[in-house]
């Protein structure tokens, strides 16, 4: 059945050579980063499980820095830019405009240069500060410059998408933009607004301070700017996964987009409620009054609304397409889903794992309840379900058809089957690792900590079986990564042919979409107001009551 699905006389995906190279460069770079970061993760798991000690002066925290930077920042950003550019070309004119293409390549070069420089600094042990680089630990200034290059590069990539979108709307006046384009713009707009925080702290605080041009740094201001960026960062990862769920999955299962208007509304709500919420990462910190923490907790929980809308739309699409195929009864549609198609299986596993992932997130953000889990392995378990499963396996599911679509090759039944195994093994390994992390975190085991028994403390000794389970899960995950690399090589050498660029159409009986949803000025304006409401008073307080600040420390 699967063969016929994939080879179904799909039109040539029809990317121009240049567009295909640009997208493919991003995707392959992303998976290379994922593999290296994953190898670091494997070693960390084995160290913390007490199974190995690291040879040759490699530090645990050095590996942890590489793992976080390469997987959470580099893999995600490169994949997202590549995926968004593919759909930008596809849905707005069939190819990238010269300026969009130029901005895309400029972004790629800056981000790659930043990644290379940052990785060198980490390998030289000049930047063992983890990917959150909390002051006053001071890395080499070149590490901060590397991060700035990545961020500025991603800005250029975003400008390219905005440019193509503006041109499209000008030449199609009065028409509704393609849903993919709308969602890509929302994602990149979120990114531009969110990265202002991290750019401010890196450019105005970290770089002058790390070069020694200023003596001290205001810690609370830098942390607040970081977390102003740090939470929308997770929505920057998640929104492209949602794009796949809204736009790709319906097509794979033979259905249509449930509601264009509600999909756009959900993205607008995500845009507005994922930024003014950074304090829920700082609930255990001094100098931020409880009232302002609670205000941001309330705003954090507003994303429940678009999340529920998304869940409804997905299940509605599943049910409607199943019934069209003749499913009966309340749950008969479930058996009609294309269970042996990796293009469905990847994103579906992502959705499934997002149920416990999202529930854990509600706990983390729950004001005083955060005290139980803050900085424990519970949190690590949480984001290994969300970004490292939901987002990662959705992206992997995309790669299995996007790579052949870009290279005019076919997704062979063999690679499809291997892809199912790869994603299944990933999910299995993650269930073990994440369950162990959640449990041992509740018992109190800290995150970001090398192997230790705290001088044979009985409680810490009790954590050890879970840490062994984490190592087992991590090893299984690495097996999945090796299969992924093999699959990518097989895809790059697959027979020539046509692979469909999978995008669903909107259901014919869908209601018209209100034009107000496309008024970006309005939504950005509301977002700015929300940010000012949530941050102005407490942030001014942090600026005005800053003490003497901190000198740099190198403690590794």
């Amino acid at each position: 059945m699967i063969q016929s699905n994939i080879h179904e006389s799909a039109p040539l995906s029809g990317f121009t050579r240049n567009d295909a190279s640009l997208v493919l460069a991003h995707i392959l770079f992303a998976f290379a980063a994922l593999f290296i970061g994953g190898f670091a993760g494997l070693l960390q798991g084995l160290v913390r499980g007490g199974m190995i000690t690291l040879p040759g002066g490699i530090g645990y925290y050095q590996l942890l820095t590489a793992h976080g930077v390469l997987m959470a920042l580099i893999f995600t950003t490169f994949f997202i830019v590549g995926f968004l550019y593919s759909g930008t070309a596809k849905t707005m004119g069939g190819k990238l405009l010269p300026a969009a293409s130029w901005l895309g390549w400029a972004g790629f070069i800056l981000m790659s240069a930043g990644t290379a420089l940052g990785t060198i600094m980490i390998l030289l042990n000049e930047a063992t500060v983890l990917y959150t680089f909390y002051a006053p630990m001071k890395a080499s200034p070149w590490f901060y410059i590397a991060l700035a290059l990545v961020v500025v590069g991603s800005w250029l990539s975003g400008y390219g998408i905005f440019y193509q979108y503006r041109k499209w709307r000008k030449s199609h006046s009065g028409k509704l933009s393609p849903l993919f384009a709308f969602m890509a713009v929302a994602t990149m707009l979120l990114w531009q607004i969110a990265t202002l925080g991290v750019a401010a702290t890196v450019l105005f605080q970290f770089i002058p301070w790390s070069f020694g041009w200023v003596e001290t740094i205001n810690i609370m201001v830098s942390r607040t700017l970081f977390w102003y960026f740090g939470h929308p960062l997770v929505y920057f990862w998640l929104l492209p996964a949602y794009m796949v769920w809204y736009l790709v999955v319906p097509k794979v299962i033979g259905g249509k987009v449930f509601s264009d208007a509600l999909a756009r509304l959900a993205f607008v709500l995500f845009l507005m409620f994922s930024v003014p919420v950074g304090f829920h990462h700082q609930l255990m910190e001094p100098a931020i009054p409880a009232f302002w923490k609670y205000v941001q907790v309330v705003l954090t929980f507003m994303v429940v609304v678009p999340s529920l809308m998304t869940a409804f739309a997905i299940f509605a699409t599943f049910e409607m397409s199943g019934r069209e195929k003749g499913a009966r009864g309340l749950f008969g549609w479930f058996r009609k889903l294309p269970w042996s198609d990796v293009r469905f299986f990847g994103p579906f596993i992502g959705m499934l794992m997002f149920i416990p992932g999202g529930a854990g997130g509600l706990i983390n953000a729950s004001n005083q309840m955060n005290a139980l889990v803050h900085n424990t392995l519970w949190v690590t378990g949480h984001f290994h379900l969300t970004v490292a499963t939901t987002v990662a396996v959705t992206f992997m599911g995309v790669a299995y058809w996007l790579i052949p679509a870009l290279t005019n090759r076919v997704l062979t039944p063999k690679v499809n089957r291997l892809g199912m195994w790869q994603i299944g093994i990933w999910a299995f390994g993650m269930l073990i690792m994440s369950a162990a992390m959640h449990t041992v975190g509740l018992l109190g085991a800290p995150r970001r900590t090398a192997y230790t028994t705290y001088m044979d403390n009985p409680e810490a000794l009790g954590w050890m079986p879970y840490q062994v389970a984490m190592a087992v899960g991590g090893t299984i995950l690495f097996v999945s990564l090796v299969i992924l690399v093999v699959n990518i090589v097989l895809l790059m050498r697959a027979p020539k042919g046509a692979t469909e660029y999978v995008l669903a159409e909107t259901s014919a009986d869908a209601q018209p979409t209100p034009r107000i949803l496309e008024r970006w000025g309005l939504w950005t304006g509301i977002l700015v107001v929300l940010v000012l409401l949530a941050y102005t008073i407490p942030f001014a307080d942090l600026l005005n009551h800053s003490g003497p600040g901190s000198k740099p420390w190198v403690t590794w």
Binding site: Y61, R448, Y454
Partner: protein
């Protein structure tokens, strides 16, 4: 914009849960006094912590009844004072700061879980109703010896 009847029910149920949930969190925070740790605004110079009251005299200080203040300093890679003893049933107001980088301050098996931040002071109150030896550890990466940064608290 058209909403399907089932979607309306689904969203209304979701929003009702949301309001209830936030009300519980808010009531717990503001009516029952279960605030997340707070901190005062008197900045401490991280380089002069040892001369700045109350940290010039770290340790457990009796306030009255079974109530104590605990002034504690986090540093690479340990805490002052070490192996503190606390009387059983004591209510302890912790005040914690750091003299160098950011540290964690987590007492395993309790809700005490603070950030020790140079230049600021974290506050939290906890009542120790169970006797025994508690593990106080650093749960924020602070450098090469981070995994050794811990001490005991004895409640008896």
């Amino acid at each position: 914009m058209h909403l399907h009847r089932y979607e309306k029910i689904w969203l209304m149920f979701g929003m009702a849960m949301l309001v209830l949930f936030l009300a519980v969190l808010g009531a717990g925070t503001f009516a029952l006094g279960m605030e997340p740790p707070d901190g005062h605004h008197i900045p401490v110079d991280p380089e002069k912590v040892a001369e700045t009251p109350p940290f010039d005299n770290p340790g457990l200080h009796h306030v009255g009844g079974n109530i104590y203040n605990a002034y504690m300093i986090a540093h690479v890679f340990g805490y002052k004072p070490q192996n503190m003893e606390i009387p059983l049933g004591a209510t302890v107001h912790f005040q914690v700061t750091s003299v160098d980088v950011v540290h964690g301050f987590q007492i395993v098996g309790t809700n005490v879980n603070l950030m020790a931040i140079p230049g600021a002071v974290s506050h939290y109150t906890h009542t120790f109703d169970e006797p025994g030896e508690y593990l106080l550890l650093c749960n924020e990466y602070c450098g090469a010896g981070h995994e050794y940064m811990a001490t005991r608290i004895l409640v008896k």
